[in-house]
């Protein structure tokens, strides 16, 4: 669901964390809802291949 930035400022924000887990952990510890993505580099770490796949899909 899209939440415009101005609306976000009057709501209790809910987060998706992609990458360093500590960012999500510290928000969760502060009482905020966080969904952690189990991220790993796409296309086996080949950034050019990932970009190509993005274009094709």
């Amino acid at each position: 669901m899209a939440m415009k930035f101005a609306e976000l400022l009057v709501a209790t924000p809910v987060f998706v964390n992609v990458g360093v887990r500590e960012f999500g952990d510290s928000l969760r510890e502060a009482g905020f809802e966080v969904v952690q993505v189990d991220w790993s580099p796409p296309a086996g770490g080949n950034a050019a291949m990932a970009a190509l796949l993005d274009e094709l899909l």
Binding site: L9, V10, E33
Partner: protein, 528 residues
């Protein structure tokens, strides 16, 4: 002693976790040094320079790629072999971590479907994937907090333009901190909510400002990071404009403060034009830019400050902001203390060295020195200062941003990992031409659990070594944080005082005091 690498194929971990793994292994008996890195070309090169890889004989290491993990181990043979025999135990996350609850989504789209009320994606993947993930977030209608750096200008423009069209914002790339709806994102301090809204392209600038507002008894409505390049002419302040619009519409924000490193000329003109028609009072703090002619003159509610401290004072005076006024440094007391310090220094001690964890605080200190006509060297010089040829070696008086790209490639930021700054502090402390060292300590989430403790022993040691050779080495420090931060402002300050540092309530005041000493050292030199 042996050196050995252990490669784990197709294992991705983030850099903060890998630093923790390396620390844990290094603390095992018999291990002298340990690194845990992804096998990027840059990391492999560093390890080869350190003597790993058996000059190409280690074929597993030689053929490893950026999606593989390498442990580089140095120590007694039995200890190294024990780690090599069981690396997986060392790669397990502690039970308190977020892993292991339910199955985690593998993509942003999956996460957004799972949590339809999500409003912000916090993204800290390696730079080459950051634009891709940000696009996925915008596609899901999410605002983006983008911590990653190394995103191209073209990608930044296209992401921010897309966000603006959708009524969303991209905070970043290279965004260190934000405070949205009471949530501190990234490197954030425990500050109360209140009437002061912040827009900032500089992470430590936002942190220092919000902590000072909190300590004055007031609070922050929202602090919106925009990324270090947002106010460059290439980007044109796209996120800054979105942030100002949002704060202006926010009922709880009574004053808007914009904090930035020196912006581009075109972007500055647009920013001033926008701020001049703001319906809220505005404080503009451009650190390192030349001091405005009349710094405190209000023109249509627009006030200008050249230090974070001035910005805090101006914000606290705005209508509707009920903050106590700050008591600034007493200039006379500072002059007396500076004279006392200089009187104890040997003639050969002539230079000031600043080792900053906060890039913005380095800019601010340069501005403070320049205001008194003092030229220094820096690896990120503001207009009028001299560029350090090699950021790893100071020249005369130097103010160094230790968070610059060259220092953090393959290792964590000095706010998290103090080891490189500690080594540099030793070098500067052992330089007999150095009279004074400036340090900043940044508390809060994500930062080291004990920033002052990380350097306290070294501060004590370099001062003691200076004393033994007949020098007096002055160490000047400031702590950016609040009592409510996990590290505790008072406890951190106490550690620095006990180590022999002079601790000031703000980075600007520490720099003003250091400047006082630098001026006295110059006069002493001229008098000879």
């Amino acid at each position: 002693m042996i050196k050995k690498t252990v490669v784990r194929k197709n294992r991705y971990f983030d850099s903060v976790f890998l630093m923790q793994v390396a620390r844990r292994i290094a603390a095992e008996p018999g291990i002298k040094d340990a690194s845990a890195l992804l096998c990027t070309e840059a990391n492999k090169k560093v390890l080869v320079e350190l003597g790993y890889g058996e000059a190409g004989g280690d074929t597993e290491f030689a053929s490893a790629g950026p999606n593989d993990l390498v442990l580089a181990l140095e120590g007694e043979k039995s200890a190294v072999m024990a780690v090599a025999a069981d690396p997986e135990t060392r790669l397990q996350r502690p039970a308190s971590s977020s892993v292991g609850t339910a199955r985690e989504p593998r993509s942003l789209a999956e996460a957004a479907a799972l949590s339809p009320r999500s409003g912000v994606a916090v993204i800290s993947v390696p730079g080459e994937y950051a634009a891709r993930e940000s696009r996925a977030a915008l596609r899901e209608g999410l605002n983006v907090f983008l911590f990653s750096s190394n995103v191209s200008v073209a990608d930044e423009i296209s992401l921010k333009t897309e966000a603006r069209q959708k009524g969303l914002i991209v905070m970043g790339p290279d965004c260190g901190t934000a405070f949205i709806g009471g949530a501190g994102i990234g490197f954030a301090n425990a500050v109360r909510r209140g009437p002061v809204g912040i827009v900032g392209s500089s992470g430590t600038g936002i942190q220092e400002f919000s902590c000072m507002v909190h300590r004055a008894g007031c609070g922050i409505s929202h602090a919106i990071g925009t990324g270090s390049r947002d106010l460059s002419d290439a980007i044109g302040g796209i996120s800054t404009m979105t942030a100002i619009d949002a704060l202006e519409a926010d009922r709880d924000t009574k004053v808007i403060v914009v904090i930035s490193k020196p912006p581009g000329q075109g972007a500055t003109a647009r920013l001033r034009e926008r701020l001049a028609r703001s319906s809220r009072p505005v404080v503009l703090c451009l650190l390192g830019a030349h001091r405005p002619v009349e710094p405190e003159q209000a023109a249509g509610g627009l006030n200008e400050a050249s230090t974070i401290d001035e910005a805090v004072s101006l914000a606290l005076q705005a209508p509707g902001v009920n903050g106590a006024t700050r008591r600034p440094l007493d200039p006379e007391a500072a002059r007396v203390e500076a004279a006392l310090q200089v009187s104890r220094m040997r003639q050969g001690q002539r230079y000031v060295r600043g080792l900053f964890a906060g890039g913005t605080l380095c800019y601010q200190a340069q501005g403070i020195f320049r205001d008194a006509g003092l030229l220094v060297h820096s690896n990120s010089p503001i207009p009028g200062m001299r560029e350090l040829e090699d950021p790893r070696t100071s020249r005369e008086s130097s103010l160094v941003d230790m968070g610059a790209e060259i220092f953090v490639e393959g290792r964590s930021h000095p706010m998290i990992d103090a080891s490189y700054r500690r080594k540099r502090l030793e070098e500067e402390g052992n330089d007999t031409s150095v009279a004074l060292i400036i340090l900043d300590f940044i508390l809060g989430a994500i930062s080291s659990r004990d920033p002052a403790g990380d350097l306290a022993e070294t501060i004590r040691a370099v001062r003691e070594a200076a004393r033994r050779r007949g020098d007096h080495l002055c160490v000047v420090a400031s702590v950016c944080g609040t009592e409510e931060d996990a590290q505790g402002l008072a406890a951190q300050t106490k550690k620095l005082l006990e180590a022999g540092a002079l601790v000031f309530p703000s980075a600007a005041e520490a720099a003003v005091f250091a400047r006082e000493i630098a001026l006295k050292l110059n006069r002493r030199k001229e008098a000879r």
